[in-house]
Symmetry: C2
Subunit: 208 residues, 2 copies
Amino acid sequence: MQTPTERVKRPSADATRERILAAALDVFAERSFDGATTRDIAARAGVTQPLLNYHFSSKDELWRAAVDGLFDELNRSLASRADGLRGVDELTMSRLLVREFIYFSASHPQLHRIITGECKADGPRMDWLVDRHVRPLYEVTTAMFARLVEQGHIPAIPPAHLYYILTGAGPTMFVLAPECRRLAGIDPFSDEVIEAHADSVTALLFDR
Amino acid sequence: MQTPTERVKRPSADATRERILAAALDVFAERSFDGATTRDIAARAGVTQPLLNYHFSSKDELWRAAVDGLFDELNRSLASRADGLRGVDELTMSRLLVREFIYFSASHPQLHRIITGECKADGPRMDWLVDRHVRPLYEVTTAMFARLVEQGHIPAIPPAHLYYILTGAGPTMFVLAPECRRLAGIDPFSDEVIEAHADSVTALLFDR
DNA sequence: CAAGACCCTAATCATTTGATTAGATTCAGA
DNA sequence: TCTGAATCTAATCAAATGATTAGGGTCTTG
């Protein structure tokens, strides 16, 4: 027997929920929270606009659900990469995790776009974002950098600065992809350019 | 005598125009174009909302005027710095111009915020922004990097990648200042942190 | 199969937004 | 001082936006 409050969901509901979340992530990343309209999200998901309020109580909650999914993916990517590298020395591990972060930034430019969009506004959504998702990543990243500096593998730069250098240098080419295409005439999302960018960033950080 | 079409402007008009432009720059940077409301801009400028349509024909034109002013300031900063360094060797010149760019990013975080905001949307405003303001800066910057690579002063990284590493690593700490304050507990806009960041970025780029 | 919960849509509401209009006020110049 | 253009405000409009309501259709389950 099931508790009285438990809802019996149908598979179709989960499928449309996912389509809405994917569309929401794209639109929120492209237009920021205020600029994103629920009608635009609904159109991209192929549903009517009131359906968003059926699956999610508000635009705000939809945003949170979409961002949760994005960070879940990021954490899974990094965790599984680190898992496959158990036993590898810390310098190599760090290089490869930085590469993994750059690959993720290329396949999910929404990540950095949403962070910058919310950070500019500096409202309650940013508080939620930092406390729930960014801080854990910051802690583990700066701890890693601190060890690398201590071991002399990278220059003596304060970990907080290394963090913002990495989160800036890594994703910016993909965040500014439309500009990059026009300026440099290259597609930042092509495999060669992604590889070249990962090479460039890791070289600057780790090769001396 | 003056031509019939010439308007006789009063000083007060220029003053309020400037106040509106300054407020518009802040609000556009904080909330992106769509999220910025003309009422909010007017309130920060201390005027009524219809006055924006008196001085500027539309929200779009107001945005262009504000962005023009911002890039004028950037170009003046870099030009006057380069001017004061005439005769200095290229490596030192480059280091100091990179520092100048970081100082400007700290004093005007709106620059990178507006670029990223428009680049995400990828609309006609981005075309205007790239063609009118970004391309000249891109050309001179990548040319500089190409010479530095050729002379062996920095690692052999394609200039386009160096450009996005610099425009990412330099401003991101200031663009994400609210996050940085919460995560690292430091104020990115304090003189010490700005200096430390300029040291960090130039060290990674130029010290080998 | 019948009932009820679940999934979804059409119509609509109250607010907010950029822009316009009409008019008040201020200032320069004759 | 007087006139007219320049500057600015109050009132308002049409469009767009997030959300709600009422109801139709569908699947499960007893």
